[in-house]
């Protein structure tokens, strides 16, 4: 039940961001699904299996990009449409906020800790996205090369 609710909330959040980023209406549902799947991957790994937040975010980003690539192929739209909206639930806003709060309370060592965590999490999300994109491009290029060769011979 809880997971179902989480799916719903993250779906609506990504959908709303689709409107803020002004993406075409026909892609709104798809970007909502992308965001919800990314968040669920992260949530289940973190809460259910107690895995390190960096790794869960990394896995979430991989899921996000996989779904984005599927929708990109399906709708022939640029990948940034789905990645942008789907990324939103993963953004480590809470950690960044903690850092600000600690700075205001003059607790600089704690602020540094949460700040570094926020930075590392965004780095691991970016890594997840880039890695998946690169693997996809690699496979696409290789299969194109193979097709060309078959065509030529």
């Amino acid at each position: 039940m809880n997971i179902f609710l989480q799916f719903f909330f993250s779906f609506v959040a990504s959908f709303s961001f689709g409107i803020l980023f002004n993406i075409p209406r026909k892609h709104l549902i798809a970007s909502g699904i992308t965001g919800a799947c990314a968040w669920l991957t992260y949530y289940i790994l973190l809460q259910g299996f107690d895995i390190n937040p960096l790794l869960s975010n990394f896995a979430g980003a991989i899921m996000l990009t996989t779904f984005s690539i599927i929708f990109t192929k399906k709708f022939r739209a640029p990948i940034i449409v789905f990645v942008t909206c789907g990324l939103i639930p993963l953004v480590p806003g809470g950690k960044a906020y903690e850092a600000v709060r600690n700075i205001v309370e003059s607790d600089y060592s704690k602020a540094l800790e949460s700040g570094a965590q926020a930075a590392l999490i965004s780095f691991s999300i970016a890594m997840g996205i880039i890695l998946t994109e690169m693997i996809y491009e690699l496979f696409r290029n290789i299969s194109n090369r193979v097709k060309e060769k078959n065509h030529a011979s």
């Binding site: 609710l5 959040a13 739209a77 906020y97 965004s122 970016a126 996205i129």
Partner: protein, 262 residues
Amino acid sequence: MLDQLEQLDRPDDSLDLKYVRKVFFVALNCGKTLMENGAETYRVEDTMYRIATYYGIENVQVFVTTTVIILSMNDYSLSQQVRITERNNNLEKVVNINDLSRRIVSGLNIEDALIELKKISDSRIFPMWLMVMFGGIAGSMFLMMFGGPIQDLAVTFIAAATGVFITEGIQRYTSIKFFTEVLAALMIALIANIYVGLGIGSNVDLIIIASVMPLVPGVPITNALREIIRGHFLAGTMKGVEAGLTAVAIGAGVGIVFVLVG
């Protein structure tokens, strides 16, 4: 081997110059529209290059950063640069330009491409009230995702909608993004603190985190890293600086309120 070198000494300028200028216009404006509306640098370069070469122009050079685009058609001694002064996220235009470039490559003639380009640049964005409303909805959804209590839902909606209203609304009349972002974060923190101070709300932290989410530059930071890893160092660092500035602005806005409240 020689065909891999830049051939500047024997240009192929066989095409009609009027035609070339039209192609130049289409390619440059496609690039400009993409860049102004939040596309990645490599996509902009790729699209411009594809359009120009599809229409038969060889030896095209494109250089795109976050703030400037330079397009040169070396064979025709044509080169222009445009500055990108305002950047926002309007992905509908990115999608439309992407469609246009696909259609060009599958055989759209240059006159039709010009008409299509005009249509795209005139297309409108979602109305303001809708964006404000969905900003509020996004904020309240984040509250639920982070496990916040139900009684904070209404105030999160109001605070997040206010944040979007300030950034989207005032942004249209001022060129300094930094201060509108400070103001938006400040208002959000203020609303949350007042509400909790009145004894109705329960968790200031969660209300602020959730309502500030529509402003947080998570997407620009990720895009900046993606650009840098793809080898667009200049564009990537520029975007990174822009995103970092936004993060500082939000932090400052929230921080000011906490210093005041104590």
